[in-house]
Assembly symmetry: C2
Homo-oligomer: 477 residues x 2
Amino acid sequence: MSKTPKVTIIGAGISGLKAAHTLLQDPNIKPEEVIIIEAQDHIGGRLKTTEESQSKLGIRYDLGASWFHDSLNNSTLNYLIENNRIDLGKDVYYDDKDVQVYSSDGYLDSGDLKLNRVLEDIEKYIELYFHEDIDKEDISCIEIVDKFLEKYDPLLTDEQKKYCGRMMRYLELWFGISNDISSGKFAVMDHQGRNLLNKKGYYYLVDVLANEIPKSSILLNEPVKTIYRQNNNKKICVETKNGLKVYSEYLIVTAPLSILQLDQNHEYGIKWEPPLSEKIQKSLKTMHFGALGKVVLEFDNIWWDKNQDRFQIIADQVSTDNLSKPLKSLPASFTYPVYCVNFACVHPNKKGGSLVFLIQSPLTEYLESHPEEVWKYYKPMLEKMPITPITDPINIIVTDWTLNPYIRGAYSAMHVGDDANDLIITLSGEFENCGISEKNIRFAGEHTVADGAGCVHGAYNSGEREAKWILNDLNQK
Amino acid sequence: MSKTPKVTIIGAGISGLKAAHTLLQDPNIKPEEVIIIEAQDHIGGRLKTTEESQSKLGIRYDLGASWFHDSLNNSTLNYLIENNRIDLGKDVYYDDKDVQVYSSDGYLDSGDLKLNRVLEDIEKYIELYFHEDIDKEDISCIEIVDKFLEKYDPLLTDEQKKYCGRMMRYLELWFGISNDISSGKFAVMDHQGRNLLNKKGYYYLVDVLANEIPKSSILLNEPVKTIYRQNNNKKICVETKNGLKVYSEYLIVTAPLSILQLDQNHEYGIKWEPPLSEKIQKSLKTMHFGALGKVVLEFDNIWWDKNQDRFQIIADQVSTDNLSKPLKSLPASFTYPVYCVNFACVHPNKKGGSLVFLIQSPLTEYLESHPEEVWKYYKPMLEKMPITPITDPINIIVTDWTLNPYIRGAYSAMHVGDDANDLIITLSGEFENCGISEKNIRFAGEHTVADGAGCVHGAYNSGEREAKWILNDLNQK
């Protein structure tokens, strides 16, 4: 079987959908001229909202991305607003009251102890440290934080010395990797506005885009096996495991970085014929892939402070030597920091309430493989925060991103020494000697953008960017 | 009478003292080769620490600058640390616990209402707004805040809409001018670290520097009348009101911007012979001079929450038409926002306690001229915050910066449309067509720096910068 659209898009995640959506809005593109090839049996990629039936409380949870980050300047949020597709009074929630902090010692009054002021100083210190010299050697988040604590020791209180380094491990729940391996150089993020929880669920944005793409244009259950770049008819040929061949003038590859990084003979890898240049293959290895997962615990009563948006349970002062090593058994509680969103605040009118935990690698891999151990792991930590007697959960939902062979984690993450810019510039193909020699093969996805990297709106922007490149190229012909 | 040093410095404020200090540390400069001419009867300029005898509690207050701003990167703090001249456990205090906020409605739970999150968003919005286009027309702080509130109205709670705009007027207590005239473009400051209160008092830094300058090199009570730039002997001649003439090869002018801006025939103005170029005269008018003042109220008992570092009493929603106009009578309470440091936290072991208020123009001018009305003004606002019955102060100290003809305010402030960079570049003389044609005439002071503008360390750096320029110039000869 074969097809011959004008544009083939690999991946029906947000970047692929937005690319198709943008192309199809152009009056010169006919519906049948765009085809999306998706490996899985559903669209949305790393956006996934649970069904109401999976919850005992009737709540839909986003197991992948769940916030509109950079909400002052978020293209997906703006798109929904401009098209009257969102009720800002009902569909979103700023869950950003100051985080309530606990440690194994119990409640920590971070306001009174001015812990956040020190965290702000640590971030400013990191910025100044690496700003001094653009070639300054990267060190891990753990190391740069230790440098700060040593240098400013005489200006810190005993509590600040004790807790602030451990509190800085909150970054692990942004990047999905532990602080011993994550890049200090890229630890400080510049946000363009608050994080706005997408209370309605990201499935909705996926639906809004997909509804403007003909169903027949999205081919599900078609994992790509080979991309043939040189054919007699000068078309690109994408061949799937099922033997489907799609020939097109343009190709947008939105497969996750985790797939692009696989050996070409790997069962889930994509084979390039001829192989990608050394330069591109090398640059694909200049960034890693993190594993941010989630655990949802539902309870039939709210035993925690229901007015707090977020809880942080900081880790004990542990040896950082093995933090990032794969876990063979359940780690001790208080080894990894816990970050938790209180959904009793997000959905205040339910009977009962739920807590949504973010988890970082290597804990994500372990808990996703051993969901039956989840409560055993969290219970001793949560016992620090009840205001009425703690009860067992009535329902547990755990993500499976690391088990999903087409995803293999969460999103790009910077290890010490990584440099995202190298990959972004190389894949963009906008500069001489960069990109594929065939400029009609394009890349999109969260790993191909600097603004909004790792975010829904970043991926969305990259899809739009590549669609516009193609439209412009067609226009010039 | 005449003198002939190698370098003359006008002004014994922190920039002039640091310039002299730097010059005198060079082995090639002899003590008698540097002379500082100071108009007032004391050194320190806009640094002024009260005597213990002025207080009923035995506290010394800084009536001018009182913080080490940018404390991660503050040259004066670093100087004191490196020379073992400061006890970090005793001489400084981070007074930066979250500000306790009150309005005429009473206590405002800014944490619970997430008001600070919105303030952060407003500042980010301002940054993005002006970043979009470098030539974007400046508007006032009031206007840019209103723009935000209008644009993001659907995402704000009723309380946020009601209070956040008014809370943003805290900026008036940074700049010393009201938000209706202050520049939106330059409203957002980038801080390099927390603000660290100089608990010991800035007199000490002044003393440390002055102690390394011969007493005979600092001529007090010598207001400068004329600067003669062309003489037969090619020396610069500075003539004071008392008829003293100082001839030198180099001159560093550290007089405040408020003095430089005066008409040359003004009683307190400095006359230039020949006059300064049109370009420089024009650039002196591209920045204004603010009037940040202070009021100290001492009480024999602490009727407020003694554990809070700072209090903010926000203004009512008032018409902003006349905010910046000179006041002919005491304004109604709640017209201007109040910012107050709780010295009961800074000096916890006193009998009684004190509150130190910052005041902005035009209130500064009014209260400095009418100190007897201070308590009448503050009492109705402070009545919102007592936890035990409020009592009258036992002592009131009010600054007199706006009454002092040699100071005339506080420090540089950006009105709408101002551009500090123009003045800084023009005065620096480092570029063609900039500076005075005689490059041996230099400028220093808080108005001549971009980093640390308006701050002690900025002024200090500028003095060091000009001393080094001269040493380098001498070296090349």
